[in-house]
Amino acid sequence: MSPRTRLWLVAVGGAGVAALLVAACLGLPAFGGDHHPYGDRAVEASLAHRTANTIASVNFDQRAFDTLGELTILFAAVLGCVALLRQTRDEHRARPEPAEVAPPVRRYALLVLPVALLTGLYVIAHGQLSPGGGFQGGVAAATALHLLYLGADYRALERVRPVGLYEVGDGVAVCAYLVTGIAALLGGAAFLANTLLPHGTFNTLSSGGTVPLLNAAVGMEVACAVVVLLARFLDQAVEIEEESGT
């Protein structure tokens, strides 16, 4: 197909989709409307289980099975990356040259690294109270670890980051999520039902029954997944070279 024909095809198809989307937008309830029956019920259900952050309650209590699906996608994506970016036989590892980093950048990275890690853990731990949770905190903590690459060099990061351990951690976290679900099943309730633990006092760290547990499992899973992903990409971009190459 010539680029010209393709552009015409895109224009015609795009115009059709645009017309349909605009028609659909005009048919939607007006922006900012007051009619949210499902949302109102979700808020009530969350308060009944004494979870202060309704979004965490929806994610890890009311729709916990849906989150398991999302976790599976995450796990599969990481597995795919690991399989695609493994070192093949005609490639070898070249020691990267140590980078020269300006002293202020190095000091900043070493100073902020623990602060950022702590913030990530804080965001995970307070997931059921204030905005945050396993998904956000996991990414923040894992990104923070890579300040070591930015502040020093790749070999410094490799020393404190045994990738194998994180790969195991990734699997363990998914298992922990499943085990929590099955425990509810053994307790005589539905899979992933929030009946295992007492709901606790509203707006404290231990409130919400199994929500903090599932939240922590997701935090671990996401953090390990991001570390493993970035490790594979860093390996490819920085270390691995083909045999025939330079």
Binding site: P96, E97, P98, A99, E100, V101, A102, P104, V105, Y108, A109, V112, V115, A116, T119, V123, S130, P131, G132, Q136, A140, T143, A144, H146, L147, Y149, L150, G151, D153, Y154, R155, V238
Partner: protein, 150 residues
């Protein structure tokens, strides 16, 4: 009418439009500075919004942005070091203006909040924001330097 939200609207509209314009056009050295500016402007904006909506828990967003925004800029400084070394960015004016904005906003919010844990959090956020942006800007203007490898 809420003065805080008005201030946030003006800050975000002006600052983010400027950084969007900078990141869309011009040579690479201007684009990286504009990307750094986006963080430096959005963070005070988020703090003002938290105050405007009267929701202290929204401050977490500004805290995470103050931590990870400069990390993003350092990523660009490291991985684009080769290109940036040929044509180093100059960003002194913009950086200090953004740092000044951050300081003014944080101090104003501290004055309203009064002493307590919330103020401590605000001060930490402000310190991380200003320190992070100064360091990121330093890294862009040649601090990352060296071979630009690894």
């Amino acid at each position: 009418m809420n003065g805080w939200i008005l201030a946030a609207t003006l800050t975000l509209a002006a600052g983010l439009t400027a950084s969007l314009w900078g990141v869309a056009t011009g040579p690479l050295r201007r684009r990286v500075v504009a990307q750094n500016l986006a963080t430096a402007v959005a963070c005070p904006g988020l703090l003002l919004l938290a105050q405007g909506y009267d929701r202290p828990s929204y401050v977490d967003l500004a805290l995470v942005l103050a931590l990870l925004g400069p990390v993003g800029t350092l990523v660009f400084a490291r991985l684009l070091a080769g290109e940036l070394a040929e044509d180093p960015p100059r960003a002194r004016g913009v950086t200090w203006a953004a740092a000044g904005l951050g300081a003014v906003v944080v101090l104003a919010l501290c004055a309203v909040t009064g002493p307590g844990r919330a103020t401590a959090k605000l001060l930490v956020t402000g310190a991380l924001l200003i320190g992070g942006n100064l360091v990121a800007s330093r890294a862009l203007t040649g601090g990352a330097g060296g071979t630009g490898r690894a």
